[in-house]
């Protein structure tokens, strides 16, 4: 349950109401009604539907009643919106047009759902031959230009709006098919579906009960979009004069208006307006439902936040930047009052602005320092703020993060001066890569899949050190050898997906030391690796650190790794520094109860302390 501050902090919730929605489904509708855009959309669509439904009652004239003596008339009390070139009432025709337009959009969507949904359910659930055949049909349907096909259909079956819309429904059904199929595929192997299967529910029951609930919302969104397209296509056909001339439709009215554009361009306005309003309502509805669903996702995340941390600091993000930030001139380059360290973090606080204007602190009053040649371990559970602390030194906090207190100095210069709200990118961009570097946690996701490993090693050296590509290539191959890669040429030319996780992590370590930094920040560098590879990578880190005499900040949740590698350790809990000191002291004699429980839980069932002796031959710089 503690998976939390970090994830939540990365995706803060704008406008969330803080409710703890477990049943997201039922609240989607509620959120839809809270969203003004959703309400506008519903009002527009409902209004259109009512106008269409009661067109016979509301329209003062028959759609084709022509008053020959009153053509192209301006609006008056009889003809509310004027008349067209045959003296027909524009308002009445608009109403009957709405009827036809909405019905044809419904028909098209119904046909498309009727074909696409069951086919997608079957293809997604059973896969096999049916899916293969369906995919073929889909690829054919999707390479057909709709309007051209509809023209051909019309040639075959005559000018019927309904036939055209059925045909268009068939043409557009792949969009439902693909949507349903991929949704079903993604839940097919979920535990609850397995559970349902094991408990003996029939496939039909599983599909209707479990799977249908997953695709329902995306289908509504898709339907809003498709209804809009159907209206556009149907009106387009009518505009071309390919519809039934006896029916009043918006497309026909546009065409009629366009013929008289030199005389009364207002004739164009009403059908265009009606069309834009209706399609706009559908677009807004789709957006609002999507937003409601996304908010639901966010609230689900939010629910898991660690309780007990103080959410309010009283600092308002909107007022802060101009008012609080002191002028840069007042910041001395070197703080003369204190001793010199490679990195010095002083009373650091990091927070994320919340929807209600408060700031949620994830790092609070944290101070420590690191010197060249030493390894500082920052230990804590997920959500303790250890990674946030590390990222603030790198200046790679998410955009919405704020430094709410304290300062960070690197080699005597402030990267975050006291009172500054954000890490200075201007100052840090000169340091990153060159003097401070980073080894990430998950090796595979930290290499760009589109570029070769060689490219990703060479480019930073070319940019940071200003050396030639050939020179950088030579160095990269040397680095790959240094990190223990047996065939550096092959790895150099490989893409990330072609190497193993352990190898990728070695590549990332090579990248981190490629520009000879003074400080390396390693964020759980072994967590994602196999146990057998972990030890190798740790050995490699220690060996490089000693040879190059660099300072290392090692972020981890594993005391074993700390004992193995670090000189000093800082223990963090809920954003605060609980305890800090030489590894030996803290492991042997933890003062804080939190450290004790952490140690107890982590060393349970292991041979305690036995690894302690070897890595600590070097006296810790305390």
């Amino acid at each position: 349950m503690t998976e939390s501050v970090e994830t939540t902090a990365l995706t803060p919730v704008p406008g969330a109401t803080g409710q703890t929605g477990t049943v997201v489904r039922s609240t989607v509708l509620k959120r839809l009604f809270k969203n003004p855009l959703g309400i506008i959309a519903l009002v527009i669509l409902l209004g259109m539907a009512l106008l269409a439904l009661f067109a016979d009652v509301l329209a003062p004239f028959d759609e084709n009643f022509a008053n020959i003596s009153k053509t192209l008339a301006s609006p008056d009390s009889v003809n509310l919106l004027g008349t067209d070139s045959s003296g027909r009432d524009v308002w009445s025709r608009l109403l009957f047009g709405a009827q036809l337009t909405l019905l044809s959009a419904l028909l098209c969507a119904a046909v498309a759902i009727g074909i696409g949904l069951p086919a997608g359910l079957i293809a997604g659930y059973y896969a096999g031959k049916f899916e293969a055949v369906s995919n073929w049909i889909v690829s054919i349907l999707m390479s057909l230009p709709g309007l051209i096909v509809l023209l051909t259909i019309r040639a075959a079956f005559g000018p019927s709006v309904w036939i055209a819309m059925i045909a268009f429904g068939v043409l557009i059904s792949p969009s439902y098919f693909r949507l349903t199929r991929s949704a079903v595929q993604s839940v097919r192997n979920e535990l609850y579906v397995d559970a349902a299967r094991v408990s003996g529910l029939s496939d039909l029951r599983i599909i209707t009960r479990h799977i249908f609930s997953v695709v329902r919302a995306p289908i509504i969104i898709q339907t809003a979009a498709i209804a809009g397209v159907a209206i556009a296509i149907q009106s387009g056909l009518e505009f071309l004069g390919l519809g039934d001339p006896a029916k009043a439709t918006w497309g026909v009215m546009l065409s009629e208006g366009f013929k008289n554009v030199y005389l009364t361009p207002t004739l164009l306005f009403w059908p265009a307006f009606a069309m834009a309003l209706t399609i706009g309502g559908l677009v807004l509805l789709g957006n609002a439902i999507r937003d409601a669903l996304e908010d639901g996702e966010k609230i689900k995340h939010r629910r898991t936040r660690t309780p007990g941390t103080d959410p309010v600091t009283g600092r308002r993000p909107t007022a802060a930047p101009a008012a609080v930030r002191p002028s840069r001139k007042s910041v001395p380059a070197v703080d003369p009052g204190t001793e010199h360290h490679l990195v010095k973090v002083t009373n650091l606080g990091v927070g994320y602005p919340q929807a209600d204007g408060s700031i949620k602190k994830v790092v609070d009053d944290v101070s420590f320092h690191v010197d060249r040649g030493e390894i500082l371990g920052i230990v804590g559970e997920s959500g303790s703020g250890k990674s946030q602390t590390a990222f603030s030194i790198l200046g790679l906090l998410p955009d919405n993060a704020r430094v709410v207190a304290g300062s960070i100095q690197f080699d005597g210069s402030y990267t975050v001066a006291p009172g500054e709200e954000r890490v200075s990118q201007e100052r840090l961009s000169k340091l990153r890569g060159k003097r401070i570097s980073y080894i990430p946690q998950e090796p595979m996701s930290n290499l760009d899949p589109a570029f070769t490993i060689g490219y990703q090693l060479v480019t930073p050296m070319v940019r940071v050190l200003g050396i030639s590509k050939a020179e950088a290539r030579k160095r990269a191959l040397k680095l790959l050898t240094d990190v223990g890669i047996v065939n550096p040429e092959r790895t150099f030319n490989a893409y990330p997906h072609e190497v193993s996780g352990g190898m990728a992590q070695r590549v990332l370590i090579a990248g981190a030391i490629s520009c000879e930094p003074a400080l390396v920040i390693a964020d759980e560098p072994t967590t994602a690796l196999d146990v057998t590879v972990q030890a190798d990578v740790l050995d490699l880190l220690r060996e490089l650190q000693q040879r190059l005499n660099i300072g290392v900040i090692l972020v981890t949740h594993n005391f074993g790794v700390v004992a193995d590698l670090c000189d000093r350790v800082a223990v963090m809990q809920n954003g605060r520094l609980v305890e800090e000191g030489p590894v030996r002291d803290i492991l042997r004699n933890p003062q804080e109860p939190y450290t004790q429980t952490l140690l107890a839980s982590m060393l349970e069932g292991k041979e305690p302390m036995s690894t302690l002796v070897s890595p600590l031959q070097k006296e810790p710089v305390a």
Binding site: P145, L151, S235, G236, F239, A272, P460
Partner: protein, 313 residues
């Protein structure tokens, strides 16, 4: 690589074949009164029979299809039943007009949508909101209605552009540009709003990826991270949308050409389908589907080039 291309071309040919069969049989449904439509009400039954024999309508449908197919494979698309003009030559004069517009619109969509999408994703805030609102407005108005609005305001009311086209193969480039500006704008607005949305969400998704942080930590500048790495990974999403938009545009252009009275494939398609002029309809359908297949192939190749994982499989 060659195998991939051949495989895709092969499946493209199968699609083309399937579409030709479907279209041919659809047109067969309405071919009963063709001879009368051509010759008029005064024609005697004998004259009608002669005409039907001339067009091959007395043959069974399978034989007619087979003879069309062998001719088409030999490069002969036949002649129009109504105008007697060879299908190939009438397509040849019209394709340049239509395709100039469609491809100009495609290229502009790619550029503009990328710029807008990236700006919205990176700047967020008000830029993003403006783009979102623009997208809703753009999505709400069908392309041909935009065309009508443009022609009414800019051509008819203000007289900045010609309301109807003045283009023909001999005209100078400036006349083409002036005539095609409004139609191309009408064609591209829906594409730009849709494409920008896709690019925006793809870029936002990529910016949250771990490798972006690592690249920044290596000292790679923000611009390089964005344009070389993020955009490259976001591009496939945009390309896929672009290829779908092209398919829609090949239909939408028919209406646009009608509005601007352009001598493209649109009027030909409308007239031919109205008369069930089978050779012409077959020619138009085959040509457009072939373009779609070709563009899809190019998109697949580009995606493979952008994503080495796809290339491998």
């Amino acid at each position: 690589m060659t195998r991939f291309i051949l495989k895709r071309l092969g499946s493209g040919l199968v699609v083309l074949f399937a579409v030709s069969v479907l279209t041919f049989f659809l047109l067969y449904i309405s071919s009963g009164s063709i001879a009368r439509n051509i010759l008029g009400d005064q024609a005697t039954p004998e004259q009608l029979a002669v005409k039907e024999a001339e067009l091959g309508l007395d043959q069974p449908i399978a034989a007619r299809y087979f003879s069309w197919l062998t001719d088409a494979l030999g490069g002969n698309l036949g002649t129009s039943w109504f105008t007697s003009e060879p299908v190939a030559s009438s397509l040849a004069t019209r394709i340049p007009v239509t395709m100039t517009m469609v491809f100009a619109a495609m290229i502009l969509i790619a550029i503009i949508a990328t710029l807008i999408g990236v700006a919205a994703a990176v700047k967020r805030g008000w830029v993003d909101r403006v783009v979102q609102i623009g997208a809703i407005v753009g999505d709400s108005i069908p392309g041909f209605v935009i065309g009508i609005i443009l022609v009414t305001i800019l051509a008819i009311q203000l007289g900045i552009f010609p309301a109807t086209s003045t283009i023909s193969p001999g005209e100078p480039a400036s006349a083409w540009v002036l005539s095609l500006t409004l139609p191309v704008i009408a064609l591209l607005i829906n594409g730009v709003t849709g494409g920008a949305q896709q690019i925006r969400s793809a870029v936002i998704k990529q910016l949250e990826r771990d490798y972006v942080r690592t690249l920044r930590s290596r000292g790679i500048g923000e611009r390089e991270v964005l344009f070389r790495h993020v955009l490259r990974s976001a591009a496939p999403a945009g390309l896929t949308v672009l290829s779908l938009q092209l398919i829609g545009m090949l239909g939408g252009v028919v209406i646009i050409e009608q509005i601007f009275a352009l001598p493209g494939m649109g009027p030909l398609a409308v007239a031919a389908t109205g008369q069930s002029d089978q050779p012409v309809v077959m020619g138009v359908v085959m040509y457009t589907v072939a373009v779609v297949i070709l563009v899809n192939l190019i998109v697949d190749l580009l995606n493979g080039w952008l994503n080495p994982k796809v290339r491998a499989s």
